[in-house]
């Protein structure tokens, strides 16, 4: 055949090349690039804060409610703490570390938002795949339960869960997982229902593959893209939620500053010092928007690629 004449490199494309390929998609879309740079900005800041912050974020050794100055670039809050340091420190809990309960003060890598999303992705896709691929009663029941969960106003759920289990990073992660899972599940389900009509699934079935193999080896890899994009969006939602909780005063516990909580505290003397409110507010907004842009851009590119 002529196909033989078409010569292509027999060597596998190396992992790096693959990664670079997928990265290059990002730069195709301006939206994604902008989004990513916004996110990167905070990630980098977070890493820096691990080793260095201008001042001790929790030490109130400045004059209260000051505007920006040489020593406090962003000014100080109502307790005379350096806002910049607090902002930087605040990123850690969201993105970089999760503090385990107990006085030992041990913390594991991966921020609360990240773990929460990972949680909901895992839980959601397991449920969704089962509902979508198996259909029938599985579908009925799983969807019923998820509907119940969705019907539950998130915030109420947060409140109740936290009222129930008390504050703490793990609790927040749990809350995010529970509230996020139904959405992921719905997505996974619809993807599964679409993919399961493909012939290669039929082929797997005629090989007598078992259900789990089909769900996780045949279907999941092809659902990965959309799920990851969705995940990215959810990191945004998670930060959103953490902020809200913090604002309601039931978010991540001290000592680490929590952006939402910073807003909450600062708004009490909003008339005297607006900056203290603005900075954390801006921080949350920019990070969430960044993630959204990033995800949107990616999704757009992906759909265009399929076309």
């Amino acid at each position: 055949m002529a196909v033989k004449t078409i010569t292509q490199p027999t060597s596998r494309p190396s992992r790096l090349q693959k990664i670079w390929k997928s990265m290059s998609i990002i730069f195709e879309s301006r939206v994604a690039t902008v989004g990513m740079s916004m996110v990167l900005f905070w990630v980098i800041l977070a890493f820096i804060s691990l080793f260095w912050t201008p001042h001790d974020p929790n030490a109130s050794d400045f004059i209260q409610n000051q505007g920006p100055s040489i020593q406090n670039w962003l000014g100080t809050d109502h307790l005379g703490r350096d806002l910049l340091s607090r902002l930087m420190q605040g990123t850690q809990v969201i993105l970089l570390k999760t503090r385990l309960p107990g006085d030992a003060g041990i913390s594991i890598p991966g921020g609360v938002a990240i773990w929460g999303v990972i949680g909901s992705l895992t839980l959601g896709s397991v449920l969704g795949l089962n509902a979508g691929y198996r259909g029938g009663w599985w579908d009925q029941i799983i969807m019923q339960v998820l509907d119940a969960l969705i019907a539950f106003p998130r915030i109420v759920l947060y409140l109740v869960v936290i009222a129930a289990l008390g504050q703490g990073d793990l609790v927040v992660i749990l809350a995010i997982t529970i509230t996020g899972a139904p959405g992921v599940a719905r997505l996974a389900r619809s993807l599964a229902m679409d993919i399961k009509t493909r012939d290669y699934i039929r082929a797997a079935e005629t090989r007598g593959e078992n259900v789990w193999y089909i769900m996780f080896r045949e279907i999941l890899p092809n659902a990965r893209g959309p799920l990851l994009v969705d995940g990215m969006l959810r990191v945004g939602y998670a930060i959103f939620a953490i902020g809200t909780l913090g604002f309601l005063g039931i978010g991540l516990p001290p000592p680490d500053p929590d952006w939402g909580n910073m807003v909450n505290e600062a708004r009490r003397n909003i008339f005297s010092n607006q900056l203290a409110v603005m900075w954390p507010a801006l921080a949350i907004a920019s990070l969430v928007i960044g993630l959204n842009l990033f995800a949107d851009g990616l999704r757009e590119e992906m759909t265009r690629y399929q076309k």
Partner: protein
């Protein structure tokens, strides 16, 4: 009547080029296409997918999307230049003077609007007609296209009528304003053979009555032969040959045209007597077409000149217009295939052992949920879709059973049941003595690996996220037919058998063409050395040239591994070519079964006869009996009593009292000959009296 006046063409394209702007430059999808269409003429445009057929159509309507535009040339409609016409002026032309019908009517109709409104707006908007009046006209037009109870259809929504009817609605809609030019883009591709035939008749009739100029785009050589007066053959965005339909089929000049015609099996041809020659390679993508003749790389007669210089259209003595440097020299009759496309030599072995698979009275019913309150709660009485009814047949080792029938006839369900994707409702099915009535979960490994399947759609037959190697290797490691470390070797062997090199091992599906994917699909099916392979329309989604290659491949494989095949297809000529035995199914019921040659010659089952008379034959001179089925295929939920075909059977009248018995009693199996059984009330004598459906006046040519 005397044709005294020479009228100007309705549509005239002069070397048109259409380009699409893309990232970093632009792509010329279509290059220097020129042709003209006169009143009351159907100009066929034929070619493989990706040859820019549709692009031409869209260019005429100036509907090329945001990034497409006509780069060169002129498109004259009724003497008026269309290139550059926009806005109001264009809007007036569309739907009024130029109308279009395209593939898949379901998509073309607005799901949430009543058909009546969708039709009548054409009149109300263009002619400012009153709604009432407009609807009256629509109903007339619907009746004109033989739509049963037209007035009622007006009130319906698209999803409530059958595909054939939808297409009729679309056609009626197109004709409402009596356009001068009607563009049809694969209007019947989504339809069943018999429906297609009816629609084609309709089109021909309408052209005559309305004197409309029709531009008919299709990939199906048979259809072109039937509808068109002149044909343009497109390849890789260029029109390579243009001539009257007879010339094209009798003595094509361009090698590509010749190739195409060699690709398609003539109806009645079979693998023993005749062979198919694929065209090597594939259509070049628009962004890297060869410098010289676009067909060069695939051409058997390629010369230096073809590589450097792009040929231009030249007029041949007999009026045909060809884009080839050596059109005169090339003689199709002297052509001999080069070794790389040499088809396998097939010697038909005679039956040795007892049947490898035997099925008796196999039934498959699906339960259906009613929509009434009682059904939802579960009190409503159970209703069933009788997908397969009393299927009985047996196949011998190394033989092929072809199953033909229109969509919804239960052929897919039949093989799903055999391979175990569904369990059977009742009846017995034995494979080498093992019972295979259960679904796959209840079968043991060894049995599972003996039955494998090849699928229809090349784009979904492979899992996008695994390499060719992994996918072919999987069955081996699953069934442990080959030790882990030898798998790669085995896979490569298979790849070679598929005429794919080792370098395909690490490719991902998206790097393969449709044909290659299909080959991999076959390789995967063979990986576990099955005895029985079920092929579900393995070629119907492929271009004709590739089709031939795959068919040859399957034959070769069958020869090599002595595999038994069940081969489903809706294309009767392919089935005829490919199978030893053929079963004709209608509405879940096998109507006729027997040796291939027997099925395609009298005695016929009335349904088989109707099917045959509907197949479009790639030969304009062939004379074909004109039998058309009335009505639609009835619902399988409560199929007609007695003979399921009686509601549409054109031969009932031959029975006393117009075939009452067909409604009352289930017909008997009549043994026409060794292994040839017909499921009909008509006595064999009568069936024998039917004369053959197709008669080629020029045999053997």
């Amino acid at each position: 009547m005397t044709e005294l006046k020479k009228t100007p063409p309705v549509l005239k394209l002069e070397d048109v080029a259409v380009a699409y702007k893309v990232r970093g430059g632009e792509i010329e999808a279509v290059q220097n296409v020129s042709f003209e269409i006169n009143r009351g003429e159907t100009h066929g445009i034929v070619g493989e997918s990706g040859c820019g057929k549709s692009t031409v159509a869209w260019a005429v309507l100036n509907f090329l999307g945001a990034n497409g535009y006509v780069k060169r040339g002129s498109i004259k409609f009724q003497g008026q230049e269309l290139v550059g016409v926009t806005g109001e002026e264009l809007r007036r032309l569309r739907g009024d003077q130029i109308a279009m019908v395209y593939q898949d009517p379901m998509q073309a109709l607005n799901p949430s609007m009543r058909l009546g409104d969708q039709m009548s707006e054409v009149l109300t908007v263009h002619r400012g007609m009153e709604q009432k009046e407009a609807e009256k006209r629509c109903i007339e037009m619907l009746e004109r296209v033989y739509m049963p109870d037209a007035a009622n259809v007006m009130k319906r929504y698209p999803h409530q009528i059958s595909g054939g009817q939808q297409q009729r609605v679309v056609i009626a809609m197109a004709l409402l304003n009596n356009p001068a030019l009607l563009i049809m883009d694969e209007p019947t591709t989504a339809l069943d053979v018999t429906v297609e035939a009816a629609v084609l008749d309709l089109i021909a009739e309408l052209r005559r009555d309305f004197d409309t100029a029709i531009m008919y785009i299709t990939h199906n050589l048979g259809v072109v032969a039937r509808v068109s007066t002149r044909v343009g053959v497109m390849y890789a965005g260029e029109m390579v040959e243009r001539a009257t339909v007879e010339q094209i089929y009798k003595n094509p000049y361009h090698p590509y045209t010749q190739g195409l015609i060699r690709c398609v099996p003539k109806l009645g041809a079979d693998k023993a007597k005749s062979v198919l020659y694929p065209i090597r390679g594939r259509v070049p993508p628009p962004d890297n077409r060869p410098v010289g003749c676009v067909y060069g790389p695939r051409c058997d007669y390629i010369q230096e000149r073809c590589r450097e210089e792009r040929p231009r259209l030249r007029q041949m003595p007999n009026g045909a217009i060809v884009r080839c440097h050596f059109a005169e020299e090339i003689d199709a009759s002297q052509w001999t295939p080069s070794e790389d496309i040499m088809p396998p030599s097939v010697e038909v072995k005679d039956v040795v052992s007892d049947p490898i698979i035997s099925v008796k009275g196999l039934k498959k019913y699906y339960e259906v949920q009613g929509s009434s309150l009682r059904d939802v709660i579960g009190l409503g009485e159970k209703r069933y879709v009788k997908a397969v009814e009393n299927a009985s047949f047996e196949i011998f080792k190394g033989k092929t059973l072809g199953v033909v029938g229109e969509s919804g006839c239960g052929k897919s369900t039949l093989i799903k049941t055999i391979i175990g994707l569904e369990d059977s409702t009742s009846g017995e099915a034995k494979f080498l003595g093992f019972d295979i009535t259960d679904d796959i979960s209840k079968r043991d490994e060894s049995l599972i690996q003996e039955l494998q399947m090849v699928f229809q759609n090349p784009d979904s037959t492979m899992n996008p996220s695994y390499t060719v190697g992994q996918q072919i290797g999987r069955p081996m490691q699953r069934f442990k037919t080959t030790p882990k470390d030898e798998i790669r070797g085995e896979v490569v062997k298979l790849l070679d058998a598929m005429r794919l090199g080792e370098n395909y091992y690490d490719r991902l599906p998206r790097q393969l063409s449709g044909g290659e994917k299909q080959r991999v699909g076959i390789a995967r099916a063979l990986a576990s050395h099955p005895d029985l392979v079920l092929c579900d329309e393995p070629v119907s989604a492929l271009d004709v040239s590739v089709q031939a290659a795959i068919l040859n491949l399957l034959l070769e494989v069958q020869q090599k591994f002595d595999t038994t095949l069940i081969f489903i297809a809706h294309d009767l000529s392919v089935v005829r070519f490919f199978s030893d035995h053929v079963a004709v199914m209608y509405l879940g019921q096998i109507m006729e079964i027997g040796p291939a040659e027997a099925i395609y010659t009298p005695p016929y089952h009335p349904y088989s006869e109707a099917l045959l008379s509907a197949v479009p034959i790639p030969d304009p001179t062939a004379v074909q009996k004109h039998i058309r089925l009335k009505g639609n295929v009835p619902s399988a939920i409560n199929p007609p009593s007695g003979c399921r075909f009686h509601t549409r059977c054109p031969r009932r009248e031959l029975l006393p009292d117009g075939g009452k018995v067909c409604e009352l009693e289930i017909p008997p199996w009549r043994d026409a000959a060794e292994g040839h059984r017909i499921f009909c009330h008509l006595p064999l004598e009568t069936l024998r009296t039917f004369d053959p459906v197709i008669t080629q006046p020029t045999e053997g040519s």
